[in-house]
């Protein structure tokens, strides 16, 4: 059984200019990996290719040992993708939405029903079970989409800006859930502009710019890398936070 949750090889996508440029990336099982980069760096394009929403121009994508292009059903079965704009139906109620998602992933109705009730209870949405999602706040929609992503118990969860629009309590809930998923052996890949989140949660961080991975490692490794590349900095002054590391590595040459 493969120990790699996600492996990208020479992944390329061109929209007029290369959005993702021969990207190689590997994420181990049981890891929380944060993919960072400035706006337009290619993060979302990469994640959308991994989720099967975009066809790469070249390269391969292996999800939990399954080639996404050759065997998409097997690759997607254990994968959940949560974009920053929740994939919801305005005219469905929470249970109906979860029923539909569970049906798409072929989950047994009896199991899905119990799991849906648990998730809605845990995400504090049970009391809104009879409302249409069109009336939900941004945070409630994000939480319902998260419930949809979790109902089929995926091994690999990919999240694009998962904390956008969430209040402090909901953000905490989501962070705890992701950490619990990793603690149970699951894998999480997320993009975020809140560098503090990546700094505190991620075991490994990848920085992407112009569609290429320009740096990767733990926070300490990135600090070290930034120190080495910081030719203009005062001697002895160490790069401390991820924000400084990020800005230093992504600043124009």
């Amino acid at each position: 059984m493969s120990e790699v949750a996600l492996a990208l090889q020479d992944l390329t996508k061109i929209f007029g200019r290369p959005a993702v440029d021969h990207l190689n990336l590997s994420v181990k099982k049981g890891e929380l990996y944060a993919l960072l980069g400035p706006n337009g760096a290619g993060k979302t394009t990469t994640l959308r290719m991994v989720a099967g929403l975009l066809l790469p121009d070249s390269g391969t994508i292996q999800v939990l040992g399954h080639d996404l292009l050759r065997d998409p059903a097997a690759a997607k079965q254990q994968l959940a993708y949560l974009p920053d704009d929740p994939m919801l139906y305005n005219k469905l109620k929470p249970f109906e939405y979860l029923e539909f998602v569970a049906g798409l992933w072929g989950i047994k109705p009896s199991f899905a029903q119990t799991k849906a009730a648990e998730l809605l209870e845990w995400l504090d949405l049970s009391k809104h079970a009879d409302e249409l999602t069109e009336g939900f706040s941004r945070g409630m929609k994000q939480k319902l989409a998260l419930a949809g992503a979790l109902i089929h118990q995926p091994e690999l969860i990919i999240l694009d800006e998962p904390l956008t629009g969430l209040d402090a309590a909901a953000a905490r809930q989501v962070k705890d859930l992701l950490l619990a998923h990793v603690a149970q052996g699951g894998t999480v890949i997320l993009t975020t502009h809140i560098l503090e989140v990546a700094e505190r949660m991620a075991q490994r961080i990848g920085i992407i710019q112009h569609g290429k991975l320009i740096a990767e490692g733990s926070l300490d490794e990135l600090r070290h890398l930034a120190d080495k590349t910081d030719s203009g900095a005062e001697q002895g002054a160490q790069v401390a936070t991820l924000e400084q590391v990020f800005l230093q590595l992504t600043e124009p040459a």
Partner: protein
Amino acid sequence: MRAFELTPGSFLWLLVHEWRMFFYEMGDARKLNASSQKLARGMPLKGKLLLAVVWLGMHFLAWELMSDLPALASSPSFLMLVACSFVLLMVMSFMLSSALNRSIKALFERGDLDLLLSSPISTQAIFNVRLTGIVISVVATFAFFLSPVIDAGLFLGQIYWLGAYLVLAGMAMLVSAVAMLLTLSLVKFIGVKRTHTVAYLLSALSGAAIFLSSQLFSHVKKSTQQNVISGALSYLDQHHLLTEASPLWLPAHAVFGDWYSGLAIFVSGLIICWLTTRYTHHFFVRGVQQAGGVSRKVIPASNVSKARRFYSGGWLVIFVKEWRLILRDVELLSQICLQLLYMLPLFFLVFKNGVMLSGVVAGLTYLGISLVGSLVWVILSAEDTPDLLHCAPLPMKKINYAKLGAAVLPVCFLLSPAILWLCWRDIWLGLCLGMTSMGGIAFASLINLWLSKPSSRNRFKHRGQGNVVPMLLEALNSISWAGIALALLTIGKWAWLGAAGAALALIVAWFMRVNRN
């Protein structure tokens, strides 16, 4: 620097913005070409060209027809006045439907009123512009259909046809003011959410109101009919409304070239619009505030949702989800009902005469195929979250087939009583309807499957604007299958013509199919 620049924030400046938005709303935003990041908005060039060709063609047809007819008499007979007034009343009911639709959009759907009302522009000016925008869009829509007749009259040297333009503008102003007042009153009395629903239903019904009421009236007892008619006539007579000088016939007089009547209609419309904006703009602001501040209706969660057993299997959950979404979309339902309502004349005629069953079969075939075309568009093209479906481990082919099933099944269910009834009358009629409707439905599904492009539900009414070819192929397919049905039941040897049309529609759709990769 531009040679002519409007003062920012002025009435005209805002009106130009409104006018621009009217055109942008005529089509989905799309990329100029595959590699371009630039977006084109509004109706595509192909659509504009097609509209221009149709409009010119209508001019030519009208000119051909009218050049053989005698010129309109400057003092028409009373019967002509009544007939013309009836036509204008029909046009007015369609105008009201269109204006109601636009006032709902202006109040609830454009979503720019918060921005406008938070600006220093006066609320009165905003309301003036919004109402003017509705008037202009109603005039533009109806001028497209009516101008060929008016222009043809003008080309033939009958200058008095210009009066019809005055009537058109006057009626548009009147119905726009009424539609806006009606929408705002509904907001006041029944709340924003219900207004949205009720106004759409009113809009759907007002378009067919005159026809439906006339048909219902024709089905009541003869004695009741006579009582109602004589009562109405005596009332009109008592109030001198049946004389030629009665204000009831003012619009008809204007169409027949009476400039004073035309001006009277136009000025009346203008005054009503002015009064509406002058005295109800606070009402408008309150309506907008109510629309913007509509609070989420918190429904206490019952145990029903939790206790209800989940459906199993990909097909079934897709069916249920699609049907739920359609049944909860009042705007969409009202538009589909409207589509059906406009088909009703055919049925009233054939059922009343009783003997034209071949016409019933052809009509039902056409209706069934059109309905499937609409539902398939809603379910396939207007999918709310295509990304969720693409992320799922189910193959897209299977999902699309399930979606087609969700569109086709309700129509088959609706058609089945008619098929059974016809089988009871004559087995061949029932078989013919079954065969042609199912064939046409299958073709319509495939045409949509091959040519559908992502869109949104609120584009349903305008779905043809960005997709001219699919709409034409769909229409060709429906007409061809209805033709096959009619030919099989009347002159069998011409059925091949319908079959050729349907085959052509399918083959062209196959060659033009969208590459999903």
